[in-house]
Symmetry: C2
Subunit: 309 residues, 2 copies
């Protein structure tokens, strides 16, 4: 049943992260033809922005070592954006050589995660990103910046909102077009999300420049999304089938499942352009290839039940 709620946008853009953030965090390495079919199915289901792969060195992310091959195999359709994660200038070179027109850079709100993930301080990572963004923009490339650990950090615990705002504003000042606030460990709650978006607004980063990226690890992703939409955000990251949970726990929960998001937005009468049935079918198909069930509640609810023991 479609019943609108006051204070929400009419339309939300879903930024699909399954092929990159999802597959990067799966134990199974998926063949390149399956990846290409996955992206093609997502586009056919109505997703208009699909983060496709990453040019991070294969030593760090072997799951996406076939980035070049995938971009070659994929028939990119007009009207659809296929952003690619780029860690540094070398990555940018590779992306440009393959006709990429949208990139994403991946920063951290905390020193602990910057050191562990980027092997740099926050300052050093921003210095590394500066020429990437500058050159990309000079080439007419659209740039997204991720601010990870925006609601908490596994080593530091709580992350002060002012700290996230500060890093986010500095990344925006590099020339980033869109900033994605990532609750990488899924601990945030709706008041914190609202305060973060308000804090960014006060620092000059308005909600129309933001996206939110929630993980459902503690079940909070959709409630946080609702709070973000109320605070003016209209771009929401999600992963079809919720793929990209912890690679070591069967069906552990990481990214918000696109299907669970679409169910809520459909019910609220918020336009997304996405065909939920096609998406669920894609998740079931992908779950077979990953050899594990989808952690998406909607996919589970709409799939035939396993036989009773």
């Amino acid at each position: 049943m479609r019943v609108p709620l006051s204070g929400l946008p009419d339309r939300v853009t879903i930024y699909e992260v399954g092929p990159r953030d999802g597959l990067q965090n799966e134990k199974a390495v998926v063949p390149v033809d399956v990846k290409a079919e996955f992206v093609t199915r997502l586009a056919a289901a109505g997703l208009r922005t699909i983060e496709t792969t990453s040019f991070v060195h294969p030593k760090w992310v072997p799951q996406l070592a076939d980035a070049e091959e995938l971009l070659g195999a994929l028939s990119r359709e007009p009207g659809i954006r296929y952003p690619v994660l780029v860690p540094n200038e070398r990555g940018l070179d590779r992306a440009l050589a393959h006709g990429v027109t949208e990139i994403a850079i991946f920063g951290s709100a905390t020193e602990s995660f910057a050191r562990r993930n980027l092997n740099r301080t926050v300052d050093e990572s921003l210095a590394m990103f500066a020429p990437v963004v500058e050159r990309a923009r000079a080439e007419g490339i659209w740039v997204r910046g991720y601010v990870s650990m925006a609601c908490g950090d596994p080593w530091e615990g709580d992350v002060p909102i002012e700290q996230v705002v500060s890093v986010a504003a500095r990344m925006m000042a590099l020339g980033v077009s869109q900033l994605s606030l990532g609750d990488t460990i899924g601990v945030g709650t709706p008041g914190q999300v609202t305060a973060l978006i308000e804090g960014l607004d006060a620092a000059g980063v308005t909600a129309d420049r933001l996206a939110v990226h929630f993980h459902d690890t503690y079940g909070q992703a959709l409630a946080n999304t609702l709070a973000a939409l109320r605070a003016g955000v209209t771009v929401v990251d999600a992963s079809t089938g919720g793929i990209g949970g912890c690679p070591y726990a069967e069906s552990a929960t990481g990214n918000l499942a696109t299907e669970d998001l679409v169910w809520m937005l459909d019910g609220l009468g918020v336009e997304t352009g996405v065909d939920l049935d096609a998406l669920v079918a894609t998740s079931r198909w992908m779950a077979e290839r990953l050899g594990r069930p989808s952690p998406s509640r909607v996919v589970q609810a709409l799939s035939p039940e396993p036989e009773s023991e």
Copy 2:
């Protein structure tokens, strides 16, 4: 991190349904001493209202056939309410004989479910409840009324809000103290929940008389809870560990998990009086007895991971 959100209550009462609604929908029949320990642990974790069992005929709910035995075994503590589901006058007699001081009756917003669950029309079921409520109130018993299928029905599909409001108002008029709106199949979304609460208010049933009972089947339970709290509701039903999913699917999701609710409310600085760690420990203990993992995201996130294959 605790960050309040404007428009929410300072305090929420969690109405725990695990021992009744949860266990009634589990395949495994749990021994009475385990049930008694479960209820005792829930009270020790800070839950103050615990729906304990049901006097529905054992032919229909064999899982709770030991209702009398459980009430005898349980040492009921002062300050804690132990409501019991009562289907009819015979059930009320049994409840009164065992010193029960709070009861719940279980109605339906739809004809289809009334026929299938109660073998009666909606009118006939309300007529059956009338003397139960009247006699209970004469005995000083507190009465809760459930309105199930309040957001959708598996046979009828969408359930018009006016229809739910009408049944709910009629149940309230019987003399019920608190009305629990049940999204029994979990399909509702936040706009629908808000409209339903507003519709009830317009019909004279104010939010202070309401509770909400969400199922997480489609992942919507917490977002719907947030909407209900914004609309003035301060009583939320939940099942510790999320027990009570579909009895035939392993770890399928039914009731909102109390832990996932407490995580959100703790983060929002909304008081519940519940100790999350004690609750998670109780769910792990119960999961062992049920022989299946808890579907609660929080319980999964806070539990040690299984060994990598």
